[in-house]
């Protein structure tokens, strides 16, 4: 038996915990928490085993359950694809999920929340869905679990359904992401239909018959036989498909303009936020791009779009984070911004950088949210930072771990975020210089936005830290915070350590400078010849080849020489981050900080209103679609139904006229009879020629 035989259990265990919590939770001691912890711990162990097996050079790509056996057409199936990327993500997801479960003991159980079975059922299903998504071997299965992830986010964000806010936020989260998924679904269907004629397994992610590989053959080698591209050039059509799938990515990963649901989603319990932001829902989008990177790397236009969207979102969200007053809001915008970086990396050919940042971000964002959760417990569920202050001394564990996370987020060396963010920006830069034509320019523009966002990141992160933990306590609650227990501190400590160290898994710059083989993640994801899984064609080496030799022609250009460019890039981003931190320090690390937002003038209003993104989207729903539906309703009732009723009225009216013929006077009857007879006689007499 190998680890892969147990792979289905990775997702099934949390699913079982979902069932247990849902139906038996109220009878269990911790209302289902223990089942969830056991399940996620089991998943983690299995994931680790799987990862070790993968490290041994084995991979797995099998259809396990035939969803439907197509008769004279293609099958749809559920299967498992395990390559290093999957293994890594499985680890991250089950690890974060485990910590979130543990933390929930403190956040939910200890706080005496009701509806806990529902909560743990939701967490279990959420974890299961995400794990299922992660090792989906084909895009339809990915979509299915992607949707289930959306359902779980709905259930968990709306957990406190008795209040007005959470149900509304849950609805918004589901709707906005569903809007993205709409495009994703078109993409999925399009991919199946496009490739059905060319391969037996049109939806597969990896391997020779998979759609990225077939697409590559079509574009690079011109092997278009059996492809249905609806009359388009293959490249054009693949671009369209890629962009459609990207719709789902932008929804789930909260990329502009579909990011609006995410800040609202803070209505959910904080551990849920941690799970959503670090490992599950939001990560799903970016992970999907990474999963089918072979497909995206083929089409320069999609790469450009991804890069631009990512760079823009990174900057855009960071600016909004600057003015937020609530702890979780700041974190929410930082999440949007950070996923923007990942998109930027993916778009500009920095596949490994993106996965790296995904990994580090998972750790430090989980840490920050759990830290925020600890603060919120302490503050009796008060989330406004202006009501806090001076918590540093009262809750040191939380403070120091939170600080580690913040440093990572801000990108301060040597915390995790520095290494990954630096690599993201570096890759964008060198590919921007190296790639010819518009694509290179796009990369540089995206890079510039990403770079600028570094400053804001540093600023809002430390604004948050200073307002929350430093200075004087500004309220009574802040003076006497509620204590937290081991189940809160434990996860924080674990994550704090990781946030500090996880960056060392991929010290690519160090390798370049010193030649030390310390770019472990790089090697992990390379899939080079002899690595045991090159046949899956999901390794970076293959992607690099596609990027390089495909239509995108992404090349490396180092204007200041290899070392010079590397150092310049690193210094630039670090410098901006530090500048941001210092700016925040000068404004907010004072005993009695005040809001400085008024200095921004009209920009403040703009930022506070999130660039009016919500407004126009709400208008689209309630100001456009709803009135349209009312109009349709009026039309339906008035015109369509009116015609139906009209026909009946006309018939009845003519009926009421016809019956007037019967006057009741028998002489009239005789008259009518005579007239009729005479008319008949005359008419037939004339036509019959009687006279």
């Amino acid at each position: 038996m190998t680890a892969f035989d147990y792979a289905p259990a990775i997702a099934l265990l949390p699913f079982v915990s979902f069932l247990v919590a849902l139906f038996g939770g109220q009878y269990l001691p911790k209302k289902g928490a223990l089942a969830g912890i056991a399940a996620t711990a089991g998943s983690l162990v299995l994931s680790a085993w799987v990862a070790l097996t993968v490290a041994g050079g084995q991979t797995y790509n099998e259809a396990l359950y035939t969803f439907t056996a197509g008769l004279e057409t293609f099958d749809l199936h559920l299967g498992i694809l395990i390559d290093p990327l999957t293994a890594l993500m499985l680890l991250i997801v089950s690890f974060i999920a485990l910590l979130v479960h543990v933390f929930s003991l403190g956040y939910m159980n200890d706080e005496g929340e009701t509806g806990l079975p529902r909560y743990y059922a939701g967490l279990g299903l959420f974890t299961a869905s995400m794990l299922g998504f992660v090792y989906a071997d084909n895009i339809l299965m990915a979509f299915m679990f992607f949707e289930l992830v959306g359902l779980c986010s709905y259930l968990l964000i709306g957990f406190n359904f008795r209040e007005a806010g959470p149900p509304s936020a849950a609805k918004k989260a589901f709707l906005v992401t569903r809007f993205g998924d709409y495009f994703f679904l078109i993409g999925v269907v399009g991919i199946f239909v496009t490739f059905a004629g060319a391969t037996q397994t049109p939806g597969l992610f990896a391997g020779e018959g998979s759609f990225p590989v077939v697409a590559e053959h079509a574009i690079v080698d011109g092997a278009t036989e059996g492809l249905n591209t609806f009359g388009f050039e293959p490249q054009t059509w693949f671009t369209i498909l890629g962009l459609l799938v990207l719709g789902g990515v932008m929804g789930k990963s909260a990329q502009f303009p579909l990011h609006t649901w995410l800040p609202d989603a803070m209505e959910g319990p904080t551990p849920v936020s941690a799970l959503i932001h670090a490992a599950t829902m939001v990560a799903a989008g970016v992970y999907l791009v990474a999963r089918m990177y072979g497909f995206y790397a083929l089409t320069p236009t999609t790469l450009a779009v991804i890069a631009l969207v990512g760079g823009f979102t990174a900057l855009f969200a960071a600016t909004m984070g600057v003015v937020k007053q609530e702890l979780k809001q700041v974190l929410a915008y930082s999440t949007i911004s950070q996923y923007g970086y990942m998109m930027l990396a993916l778009g500009s050919g920095g596949y490994i950088a993106a996965v790296f940042h995904l990994t580090t971000h998972a750790v430090f964002k989980a840490l920050l949210f759990l830290g925020a959760g600890a603060v919120i417990i302490a503050m009796h569920h008060e989330e406004n930072m202006w009501e806090m202050g001076g918590l540093k001394d009262k809750m040191p564990v939380t403070y120091y771990t939170f600080l580690a996370g913040s440093l990572a987020l801000a990108g301060i060396v040597p915390f995790a975020g520095f290494w990954s963010k630096d690599e993201v920006l570096y890759e964008a830069l060198i590919h921007g210089f190296g790639t010819e034509g518009g694509l290179g320019t796009v990369f540089l523009v995206a890079y510039a936005m990403g770079l600028l966002a570094v400053f804001f990141t540093g600023f809002y992160t430390f604004r948050m830290v200073y307002l929350t933990f430093h200075g004087e306590a500004r309220t009574e609650t802040a003076k006497k915070p509620h204590g937290v227990r081991w189940n809160v501190k434990g996860p924080l400590a674990v994550l704090g350590i990781l946030a500090t160290t996880i960056g060392f898994v991929n010290l690519a710059p160090v390798k370049k400078l010193t030649g030390l083989e310390v770019d472990f993640l790089h090697k992990w994801l390379l899939g080079a010849e002899g690595s045991g899984w090159e046949a899956l064609l999901t390794g970076y080496e293959h992607y690099e080849h596609v990027l390089h030799d495909g239509p995108a022609h992404v090349l490396v250009g180092e204007p200041l020489g290899a070392t010079g460019t590397l150092i310049a890039s690193a210094l630039l981003s670090l410098g901006l981050a530090v500048a941001g931190v210092l700016a925040a320090r000068s404004l907010y690390k004072v005993p009695e900080p005040v809001e400085h937002t008024d200095k921004l003038g009209s920009i403040k209003t703009l930022l506070m209103h999130n660039y009016y993104q919500d407004e126009y989207q709400v208008w689209l729903a309630t100001g456009f679609t709803y009135p349209l539906s009312r109009a349709a309703d009026k039309f339906d009732q008035g015109v369509i139904d009116g015609v139906v009723n009209g026909i009946s009225s006309v018939s009845l009216f003519s009926g009421s006229r016809v019956r007037r013929l019967q006057t009741g006077v028998v002489t009239n009857y005789a008259l009518f009879i005579t007239i009729a007879l005479v008319v008949l006689l005359v008419v037939f007499g004339l036509t019959g020629g009687w006279f």
Partner: protein
């Protein structure tokens, strides 16, 4: 011998008078009489044609028709009688409780 056409004209005239009576008279009895005229117009035809063709079926049938006409009048008079009892009149246009 009188040509058959003459009989035909006569019967047509009688028939029309009958119809005219039916249309114009409101008295039930006159209505009945008019109907009798129509029936007798037919009888004239039957007899005349019978004579023309030289077979007797027309004549015999005319006899039958006369008998039936008598029966019809009998029934008709009975109805007129109850009409009078119920409506105190034998004006056929009076009875109009049912219409439309």
């Amino acid at each position: 011998m009188i040509p058959t056409q003459y009989y035909l004209l006569l019967s047509a005239a009688v028939f029309c008078i009958g119809i005219f009576g039916v249309l114009t008279r409101r008295n039930a009895l006159i209505f009945l009489m008019s109907v009798e005229l129509i029936l007798n117009a037919a009888n004239i035809n039957l007899v005349a044609f019978s004579f023309q063709y030289g077979n007797l079926s027309g004549q015999v049938f005319a006899l039958f028709a006369m008998g039936l006409a008598a029966a019809e009048v009998a029934v008709g008079l009975g109805i007129v009688l109850v009409l009078y009892r119920n409506f105190s009149d034998i004006d056929v246009t009076e009875a109009t409780t049912m219409r439309w």
